[in-house]
């Protein structure tokens, strides 16, 4: 087992940053959730502790681009990673089909949680209601993310600087 060094975390930070920059700059209806795809593709083959750290790092980077704080982003992404860690015990989640199916579900779960947190915060702040995302937009992002995940499970571990982070095989 190889141990990740600071430069590998720096590489992950840069890749997350690039993913979010591309996602924010390009936008569009069919734009996949690149940050989530990158994180889950890695987490499927990372050590538990490092996968959790990667989720928190992704939450920090993601929070710098969105209005939601890193606590909400962290809860969403860490929850997604914990789910992957649990499921991979009995399913090959880095295989294209399962990676796609899992990503499809996770987009709904993470976005749904973000909406729930925003609604709960608006409730406590007595700031009115927060309407949820349109189901069509939700499905489009989930579908494009799922398709990308099928490729990403093979590409992401081979990205420069990230291979030492994916030290395990299932």
């Amino acid at each position: 087992m190889r141990r990740a060094r600071p430069q590998h975390w720096l590489a992950l930070f840069v890749w997350l940053l690039l993913a979010l920059l591309a996602q924010s700059a390009l936008g569009g209806r069919w734009m996949p959730d690149l940050c989530l795809v990158l994180l889950i593709s890695l987490a499927a083959r990372m050590e538990e502790r490092e996968a959790a750290l990667a989720a928190l790092l992704a939450a920090f980077v993601r929070a710098s681009f969105t209005g939601e704080g890193w606590i909400v982003a962290g809860a969403g992404l860490l929850g997604a990673v914990l789910l992957v860690l649990s499921v991979r015990a009995f399913l090959e989640v880095s295989a294209p089909l399962y990676a796609s199916l899992m990503m499809f579900a996770l987009v709904f779960a993470v976005s749904g949680f973000g909406w729930l947190a925003a609604a709960a915060r608006a409730y406590w702040a007595q700031a009115g209601s927060v309407a949820g995302p349109a189901s069509a937009a939700w499905a489009q992002v989930a579908l494009s993310s799922a398709l990308l995940a099928a490729l990403a499970c093979w590409i992401v571990p081979r990205l420069p600087g990230l291979s030492p982070l994916v030290s395990r095989k299932w």
Binding site: I71, G74, A75, G114, G128, V141
Partner: protein, 448 residues
Amino acid sequence: MSRNTLVILWMALLALSLRPVTPIERAAEWLSVPMRLVSALAAPLNLPRTAQAGSEDEQALAQSARQLLQREQASVVPEDPSLVQERNLIHAEIIDRGAAGEDRLIVRHAAAAPVQVGLPVVAGSTYVGRVIEVGRAGTALMPGEARIELITREDARVEARTQSAVLILGGLCSPSRDGARTRQLAVHAQQGELVPGDTVRVGERADPMSGAAVLANGYTIGTLVPRPHGGREGWSVAPVIDYRGGLGQVLILAPRSTASAADLLVHDPLERAGWFAARLALAATPCFWRETRRLHAGTRQGLSSGACVAARGHYLGRLEQTEWLVSDVRLLEDPGSSVLVLADFGGEDAPLHLGLLHSRSFDRATGRLELEWQPGVEALRQVALRRNRRVDLYTGSGDRWVPAGLRIGSTELSASRTEQLLVITRPAWVAGTVEVDVWRPRQQESGS
């Protein structure tokens, strides 16, 4: 770190997400400040977008917005000459609806105007309330500001008259089956014969105890309606205007002096002096169902949370959170965001305040924005009186952080539906622009 530790950490984050704890939120904000600056790295990606922003004629838009505001201001001057005689009319703009409760509003007037506590406040030929506090240096209200109390407040009392009766009224009746939308004023005492449909006007006795209240005599309050209560005869007054959201400009009635109604337009909200030019970090957000942006300016530039963000005369949204160097912008398109809206029916018609509208949904691909409007019966009656139902929506008065007269879009109003979804198609460049202006009211006030 074991799986159990991770689960405990996750559950803690989960709980803090759903029920924020202020000290922890504040600590988290401080912790994430350096990370928030990384969005500045995206600035070069926005360079090609600069030229795309805004193809409409900004000058023409500003001109039509000014004309709209002038028409709105002119509409609060009574048409009946007898309501103007022996009085001075001091124009005031509502700048804060929520800070002092629903029945108390803060207005801004010319600083030199002789505003005093107790002076009546009207809009057109309709009685609104009275001044209860005047701003001074060193108090919560600044000079040139005043707090007014609406007639809808529970302890407000006004002596009024119909053709054949005298009434004491004030405050709202308890909610009926229709809920809060048919808000009627409560009649507390009556003398004489009451006739349904009679017009109720202010009729204070001219004695030393009444003070300046007599200046409102003759101004309309509403129409008399029977309101049986518990098997007994009862009465209430259906108001002429929507006190919740229908007010933007008012007149303060003062005894005759040097001030006059000509002192309209205390501030020009479209003046450049009030705006700070800034750039958005990115033209979109990674969170597909939100419409928020990161702004490359913060408290260091004198920006405050809640401040309006606009681009070329179009309303974009407001600052939700400001830090030293960066801020979060919540666009109007973000689900749940809200704005006070003024509807322009075109022609010479006086504009109508729709009150607070909430964003329900936004389609990025088509630019289709749905705003939720819950009109009161008074507002629906006003819509029914207009021939043209197609309106242009602009920001309205009532929020000191959002100047009136910024364009939102065009839509169609219904005169019958009590819950309406107003569909607006926003220009494509509005959601994608990166060059914006942020409202700094204090700078604008000191400069005017």
